[in-house]
């Protein structure tokens, strides 16, 4: 009996300690002395492994560079602590998977206590992994184009900021380019025949839906002669392209990532004989894309908002390219540039908020009105609209194969403010493919 009483006392004591511990106010507000944190944890959400790991690696390398640059100056000044605090980049690997992405973001929020999240690549993956952050942690999304990431209604999107072009943003310049630049040359007296080939995922469908809506809403003189979607792991595009070739398009608009888009360009021209104009979307602005295409990219098009191979159209481009090359030994890609800006934007917001409180940092991001960085903005300043979206300046590049250096290099052919040379038809172009 005595032993049972002792045991009960011990259990009661443990429970008491646990309950009291649970009641202790450990928040910063609950303590009299405010101790300065050693670091400000910033979460990087990126596909560091899996199918899109090449892009994820670029995002990581750019983020590391930005954090090192900020920390070289002592870090970010936080008024509440009256001191500069260095940033600490905490990686969350989505493994290019919606499920793994959710786990990664949950870990960053609960275990790593990040103040802000930066990154997010692939709309399908990001639409899933933003759920655990909804209404809790500011998330600067730098690599998912579906406008749904900030416009969905079933979760609280007030903490999400879209720091990249949306599918709507780039449908317009691409289609306008076809109408204004290509149609007068190849289809002056008829509608331009356009074929679409796209990934069968949220991203591909988002771009296609925006494009079709833009054509219809603006009554563009474009006839969609083929629309082919392919599984995201597809590597063999011959039959899709043979079917497209049957429709005799004047141009092919591709919506895919580096591996699939480069295969479409090559297999279309080399194997199927579909010698037409191919247009790729901006996530292909990556050194690997140029390497894979080689001479098959000659005369072909790429929509982009960051062109490290083209002329240095912004003064930040040179130093960034140099620093990136020096640190990583390779050229930067576009997704990395978005992420680099995203880290600086997060740092600036924390400084302006003067605290590490997530809600106040969210409010500071929302109120951003600062000069553009690597990604050019319409109007020159970074601001977020009612959907928490920026207005990036989009351009179209035409790639040319240099026989001497055996390299594929782009020049900007749109918009007029950045143009390097006028668009010309590829040498192998055949009307109707």
């Amino acid at each position: 009996m005595k032993i049972i009483n002792v045991k009960l006392s011990i259990v009661a004591l443990i429970l008491l300690v646990l309950i009291t511990a649970g009641c202790t106010d450990t928040s910063e507000e609950g303590t009299h002395e405010v101790s300065t944190p050693e670091y400000i944890n910033v979460g990087l959400v990126a596909p560091l492994s899996g199918g899109a790991s090449d892009v994820g690696n670029d995002m990581k390398q750019a983020a590391v560079l930005a954090v090192e640059e900020i920390n070289a100056d002592g870090g970010v000044y936080v008024e509440k602590y009256g001191a500069k605090i260095p940033l600490k980049l905490v990686e969350g690997d989505t493994q290019t998977s919606p499920t793994e992405g959710v786990t990664a973001v949950e870990r960053l929020i609960t275990n790593e206590n990040v103040v802000v999240l930066v990154g997010g690549f692939s709309s399908g993956v990001t639409l899933a992994n933003q759920v655990p952050a909804a209404g809790k942690v500011p998330y600067i999304i730098t690599g998912a184009s579906s406008s749904q990431v900030t416009r969905r209604t079933e979760i609280n999107t007030s903490y999400f900021f879209h720091y990249c072009s949306t599918t709507d943003d780039y449908s317009q310049p691409i289609l306008q380019f076809f109408v204004d630049e290509l149609k007068p040359i190849v289809a002056a007296d008829r509608n331009l025949k356009l074929a679409l080939i796209y990934r069968d995922d949220a991203y591909g469908k988002g771009v296609i839906e925006s494009s079709v809506a833009y054509i219809n809403d603006n009554s563009l003189p474009i006839e969609l002669v083929a629309q082919e979607k392919y599984p995201t792991d597809e590597t063999d595009f011959h039959t899709y392209l043979t079917k497209i070739a049957e429709a005799k398009p004047d141009a092919v608009y591709t919506v895919g990532f580096v591996k699939d888009t480069s295969s479409i360009y090559i297999q279309g021209q080399r194997d199927v004989g579909l010698n037409t104009v191919y247009m790729a979307v901006e996530c292909n602005e990556d050194p690997t894309f140029y390497e894979l295409l080689g001479k098959w990219g000659d005369g072909q098009l790429l929509e982009s908002k960051f062109a490290p191979y083209a002329t240095e159209y912004t003064e930040l481009m040179g130093p960034y390219k140099e620093a990136y090359l020096a640190k990583w030994g390779e050229m930067p890609g576009m997704m990395g540039a978005d992420t680099y800006d995203g880290i600086y934007l997060a740092a600036s917001a924390i400084e302006r908020a003067g605290t590490l409180d997530r809600t106040q940092v969210r409010d500071a991001i929302k109120q951003t009105n600062e000069p553009e960085m690597l990604i050019l903005m319409e109007g020159g300043n970074i601001t977020f609209d009612e959907y928490n979206e920026i207005s990036p300046k989009i351009f179209i590049e035409q790639m040319f194969w240099d026989e001497e250096t055996e390299e594929l290099k782009p020049v900007i052919v749109l918009p007029d403010s950045l143009i390097e040379q006028d668009f010309v038809l590829p040498d192998n172009y055949e009307i109707g493919g």
């Binding site: 690696n57 597809e234 039959t239 049957e246 894979l292």
Partner: protein, 290 residues
Amino acid sequence: MTEITTLLQIFIWGLTAGCIYVLMAVGLNMIFGVMKVVNFAHGEIMMLGAFSSFGLYYYTGLNPYFLMLFSMVIIGVFGVIIERFGFRKVLGTGKLNEIFLSLGLIYILQNAAVKLWTDDIRKINSPYSSMTLDLGVLNITYDRIIAIVFTALILISLYLFLTKTDVGRALRATSQNHEAAMLMGVNVNQMYMLSFGIGAALAAAAGTVHAILSPFNPYMGTIPGIMAFTVIIIGGLGSIPGAVIAGLMLGLVQNFTIFYFGGAWKEAVAFVLLIIVLVIRPTGIFGEEQ
């Protein structure tokens, strides 16, 4: 009305895709036929074959089709090692152990490949990439022709090996009845290693052909691995002629499905075909009753 040229062209695309399935499925069936082991990591062995050819190509710059032979030997030896130190240890201890060993190998091999070669997208440049054969009604690239011819040569060599040599006969005997083969003096353990080695070498050939035709990375083996399983079930477990017929059939059916019904049906049609075959003939086209 679709032109006959277009249909012929799709037939060629289907045939080439089928060749990769055939090489994968014949290798998988060799392993299953002799050892009765289901190797879910066969797609990853294919991926290692692609990277092995890529590595040889990167350092020597020689013709990748020539290097494919070396890659087949390297990966064949690797297959022998996996059999000897992996599958042999769990053989007969229960199917679950074999399955989980091969599932574990998927992750181990993928991660090892990422560590060795990174996740970057690679490609092997064929010296024939710009050359096409003009047949009047259609053009076929040399790489496609080589892929088809290589597959045929490999299968003929395998057939001759299995039917005309003592070792080949011993391998077939082991496949038919382990105990009887053992009583006739066949070293069954050696046959296990050999079948795994040949299976891995064929996967390496499939990986190299795939890597010459398309860019690749360490995750390239997943879908071909799944499709190879579909092929061997359609063709009949353990049947090499079944794997050849079913592999070509799947390549053709998938490509004609893409043409007529769209890419969304590409993978679904493989399983539609599988269900149809199993309903009509539960053992697969060439499968035998146990």
